[in-house]
């Protein structure tokens, strides 16, 4: 392998030549790399900078605290409670199963929940916190907090969730909140992005829903830096939102509670309204339910129980229920006839127990008849024939007009769900609805609040308040939004002759206090709080000729859902009206026996600002009343209940 020096020198030169070439090629490629770098980093920098910013910054919403709802005296109806929960993060926990087992040894965790959590943890990214347990008690929560060193990946958290401390009392009025559903999002135009937050709750029914805009508040924002898989790296900036406005309702929580307890298990509705202002003092639909169940997510079983109950606890009968008003409607007929000038208060009508129009015979509730009656006695004794007669004279259109004037057949705008308009029929209405001519029989039925006439308890309360005050008061449910007083709706005079109004009021007074008054058993004995009212018993079935011949079946022998509705409207004090109450007890039987005593109790409660004193009742009834109040399960509102303002 001898090589000459010359050969060696040649080969070295050859390598140098090639090395030069290679170096040149390398330099060229480095130049290409540099050019590419310049292109990306200098020429296109702006475009990429924007892309990077998009990548990095994520805006997260901070849910605002929902406004609280108070009663007229500042008692909490709907508040926000701290919801203690624990979450687990897989990447911090390591052995999730072991950590959960340890957690279960500290607080009670159902095995099914553990399994669910484990599955959820497996499914999600390792850094996503999964809720292990919700709504923990403070003790459990602190136990977990204390033991946190031995529970890697487990974080105790505090969130806000809605709570209704008065549970069933305000289930219908205030409603409840729930998680945002697809349907909610469809319903809302331009939905607030905060609605997309998991676990965010919005009002579903009642005040919660219809004042959602005020209650919700404005979400805050935090700009956070996230990585490509969404893990939060740090918070860049925080913009606090505004909590929702608190609401103050016109309702008195104590009266509400009293009314709810008084109605008990009846399928009934009761409204108490301030005669002068229109403020709703109580608005109760029975039976009720616990709205907290819905906030926490009601079980299918509980929900079916509510749905299948024939007393319809989920319905708010005060505004949604449309009932034939029965004899409580007679004031409307009377006022229409008086205003039309077809009768005077003194006009007499003979009642033989029935009334004949053409070939049809309409019965008075009293088979033997009332004899000759005038306005006062007709109202006091609730003579049907009198109203058949005057209604026929005045005509349905005038009656309907008067009904609407008094607040029937129109929708009273309140922040509550599914408020019914009721039906205040007239000729045009029937033509439009049934394509039929109005018949005289229709007028006769309508004159005593049967037939097509349908009213809600709210409308009846408004009607009574309007008769009592002589002004077109409007119901009001929300008194204050935030710190802003909600102005009272205008209540112009009804434009009715004060003499006529006084006559009708007098008739209502006789109902309670007259010798033959249909509700004289439910009168108020206290001279300063004398009461005026009107009973109503609305048929929900037709009584056939045969049945009438063989004797009308008594209500208590009928199945519950075919019995008459018991109605009652009233106001007091007679001289200086302050509160009006309407009651409908579905299939309760007679208005005087069933509805009037209930209405009297609530009326007195609102007037006296607490459990009515026995002195207000007639002496003979005091014993029964006393034991009834004793049996009622009323909420304890604490010691300050005597110092609050009165309605």
């Amino acid at each position: 392998m001898k090589r000459t020096q010359r050969d060696t020198e040649d080969s070295v030169r050859g390598v140098r030549r090639r090395a030069f070439l290679m170096g040149g090629a390398m330099t060229a490629f480095v130049a290409v790399l540099g050019a590419r770098m310049r292109y990306l980093q200098v020429d296109q920098a702006e475009e990429f900078r924007l892309l990077a910013e998009e990548n990095r910054v994520n805006i997260r919403l901070i849910p605002p605290a929902r406004g609280q709802i108070f009663d007229r005296n500042g008692r909490l109806i709907a508040g926000n409670e701290q919801n203690y929960r624990v979450v687990i993060t897989r990447e911090d926990a390591g052995d999730v199963e072991m950590v959960l087992k340890r957690l279960a040894s500290i607080v009670a965790l159902p095995p099914a929940d553990i399994e669910k959590t484990l599955k959820e943890v497996e499914r999600r990214s390792p850094f996503v916190p999964i809720i292990v347990a919700d709504r923990l008690s403070w003790e459990d929560f602190s136990k977990i907090a204390i033991n946190s060193p031995s529970l890697p990946g487990v974080t105790p958290e505090v969130g806000l969730s809605r709570v209704y401390p008065l549970d069933q009392d305000f289930a219908h009025v205030v409603g409840y909140v729930g998680p945002v559903s697809e349907r909610d999002l469809e319903r809302i135009e331009n939905p607030d992005p905060v609605l997309q937050l998991p676990k965010f709750q919005i009002g579903k029914v009642g005040v919660e829903r219809w004042t959602e805009a005020e209650l919700r508040g404005r979400a805050g924002q935090k700009r956070i830096e996230v990585n490509s898989v969404g893990r939060v790296m740090r918070e860049l900036e925080r913009l606090e939102g505004d909590p929702g406005d608190d609401l103050r309702l016109t309702i008195d929580a104590e009266a509400q509670n009293f009314a709810q307890a008084r109605l008990g298990d009846e399928s009934a509705a009761m409204v108490a309204i301030d005669v002068q202002t229109g403020d709703l003092l109580a608005c109760v639909s029975a039976p009720s339910f616990d709205p907290n169940l819905f906030v926490r997510g009601i079980s299918q079983k509980d929900y079916s129980v509510l749905l299948e109950n024939d007393h319809r606890p989920l319905a708010d009968k005060t505004v949604q229920g449309a009932y034939p008003p029965g004899s409580t409607f007679k004031m409307v007929t009377a006022l229409a006839a008086l205003e039309a000038g077809v009768i005077t208060p003194q006009t007499g009508v003979y009642c033989p127990g029935h009334y004949e129009v053409g070939s049809r015979r309409f019965h008075c509730w009293k088979r033997s008849g009332h004899g000759t009656v005038s306005l006062h006695s007709a109202l006091a004794e609730s003579c049907d024939v009198y109203f058949y007669d005057i209604a026929q004279k005045v005509g349905i259109d005038k009656i309907a007009e008067m009904g609407r004037k008094l607040g029937l057949g129109i929708r009273h705008d309140l922040p509550m769900s599914a408020i019914t308009e009721g039906v205040m029929p007239d000729k045009a209405w029937k033509q439009e609805r049934y394509k039929q001519d109005w018949r005289i029989g229709d007028t006769i039925n309508a004159s005593i609040g049967q037939g097509y006439v349908l009213t809600s308890p709210l409308q009846l309360a408004v009607m009574t308040a309007r008769i009592a005050s002589g002004r077109a008061i409007q119901p009001r449910l929300v008194r204050m939004i935030g710190t802003q007083e909600v102005p009272l709706p205008e209540a112009p005079p009804l434009d009715l002759s004060s003499q006529h109004l006084a006559s009708v009021r007098r008739g209502m007074y006789e109902v309670m206090n007259g010798a033959h008054g249909t509700a004289k058993g439910s009168r108020i004995a206290d001279e300063t709080l004398l009461m005026a009212g009107k009973t109503g018993t609305a048929q929900v079935r037709n009584i056939s000729t045969q049945e009438r011949a063989s004797g009308v079946v008594r209500n208590d022998q009928l199945p519950w859902n075919r019995r008459d509705h018991a109605l009652f409207v009233c106001y007091a004090p007679f001289e200086n009206p302050r509160v009006a109450v309407s009651v409908v007890v579905e299939h309760g039987g007679g208005g005087s026996a069933v509805a009037a005593p209930i209405a009297r109790d609530l009326l007195l409660f609102c007037l006296t600002g607490g459990i009515p004193p026995l002195s207000a009742y007639p002496a003979t009834q005091r014993g029964t009343i006393e034991s009834r109040f004793k049996d009622m399960k009323l909420r304890d509102f604490g010691a300050d209940s005597t110092t609050r303002s009165r309605a």
Binding site: S11, A19, F48, A52
Partner: protein, 379 residues
């Protein structure tokens, strides 16, 4: 007796060798490594112990090994070349059959505390073997077919083993480095022209056979090529790497976002942010200025190596230095092309910057050979 052996007496001895080391190369390599430490510190979010510290320790160890290799005369290494080559191929075979499977590929041998990646080692032992071969071969015969075939076999054998791991990036680099040494040794242009034609045909074949049972590459490798050609087609899948890397680079702008201020890489938008894609962090945080400076540093290292090769009159030393320089160059070229969206993502680390022990140690040992050749050059 080669030319080298006549001049042995002129080579420095003992500690005086330190003075004759190629210091500019050492300093520039240290500078690059230091940039790497900074970047690793940054991408770990300021945690020294995560990547930066182990990397520094490995660099220290690698430097020590480099000096050790540099002090041993180059003719000893020349005599070791064949053995080193055989050992490397043997290790590749071991990996093939007993290797540790990581990231879907068999690449590592677990030697207790040290995880060895024989394919990295192969890049330098291949250079040694080829350099020794051409040193031994009569320069007049280099272009004769039979004498071309032998080095081609030397190159292709380990390449196939690496390709079977599978590691496309390294196998391509082995081919390129081998070709570079053969080119420098003076193999005729015709061969390179022919190979270029063949490669063109092979690439056509790779795509033509796609989807058939005889397809040559793995599906993920095809996918990488597809997304390289059109990264936006699969922005959250395979194209994600490239798009995010380009965003990181581009958003760095002229002067960068500042140290520790990069969002793309630090926030995990980038995969392998501490290994193959570390350059994006540098580009994002120090901008064009920083990235281009690093490119210049690398070019400087390679340039000084080439100058060193030009100064050397020993054929083995020349080819060894040029081969190592080419090796470094291909590392950089492939990695930077990849992160800048000019080449498919093939998984080649950026030498001295990327986190990873094996590659760094092997590179430093390889540059120990370069230093040895420089110190013991004939004068």
């Amino acid at each position: 007796m080669s030319f080298l052996e006549y001049r042995i007496k002129t080579a420095p001895t003992g500690l005086r060798k330190v003075l004759h080391l190629n210091w500019p190369v050492i300093l520039m390599m240290t500078a690059v490594a230091a940039v790497g430490f900074l970047m690793l510190y940054s991408v770990s979010g300021g945690r020294m112990e995560l990547w930066a510290e182990p990397q520094m320790k490995r660099f220290g160890l690698g430097m020590a090994l480099m000096f050790f290799v540099a002090f041993i005369p180059v003719w000893f290494w020349r005599n070791m070349s064949a053995l080193a080559y055989l050992v490397s191929v043997g290790l590749l075979l071991v990996v093939e059959f007993f290797g540790h499977v990581g990231m879907g590929a068999q690449r590592w041998i677990n030697l207790g505390p040290l995880v060895l990646q024989p394919s990295e080692m192969m890049k330098f032992t291949l250079v040694m073997a080829l350099a020794a071969y051409y040193d031994w071969l009569d320069p007049k015969k280099v272009s004769r077919p039979l004498w071309v075939l032998l080095p081609v076999l030397l190159i292709v054998m380990p390449t196939i083993l690496v390709l079977m791991q599978p590691n496309l990036g390294t196998s391509v680099m082995l081919l390129a480095v081998g070709a570079a040494v053969m080119f420098c040794a003076g193999v005729s242009w015709w061969y390179f022209g022919a190979v270029a034609g063949l490669v063109g045909g092979a690439i056509y074949g790779v795509f033509a056979l796609r989807g058939t049972p005889w397809q040559f590459l793995h599906d993920y490798q095809y996918a990488r090529i597809d997304t390289f050609l059109d990264p936006t087609a699969d922005p959250l899948g395979a194209g994600y790497n490239i798009i995010q890397a380009k965003i990181a680079l581009g958003s760095g702008g002229w002067a960068g976002k500042g140290f520790m201020q990069g969002t793309q890489s630090r926030l995990n938008f980038l995969p392998e942010k501490h290994t193959d894609f570390i350059f994006t962090t540098l580009a994002e945080e120090f901008g064009f200025v920083g990235a281009f400076s690093l490119l210049l540093l690398y070019a400087g290292i390679i340039g000084f190596c080439i100058v060193s090769a030009l100064q050397n009159r020993d054929r083995f030393s020349q080819l060894l230095i040029l081969g190592c320089a080419a090796n470094l160059f291909f590392y950089i070229a492939v990695n930077l092309s990849m992160v800048m969206g000019m080449a498919p993502v093939v998984g080649v680390p950026l030498p001295l910057l990327s986190y990873g022990g094996s590659a760094m140690l092997v590179l430093l040992v390889g540059f120990g050979l370069v230093q040895s050749a420089h110190v013991h050059r004939p004068r």
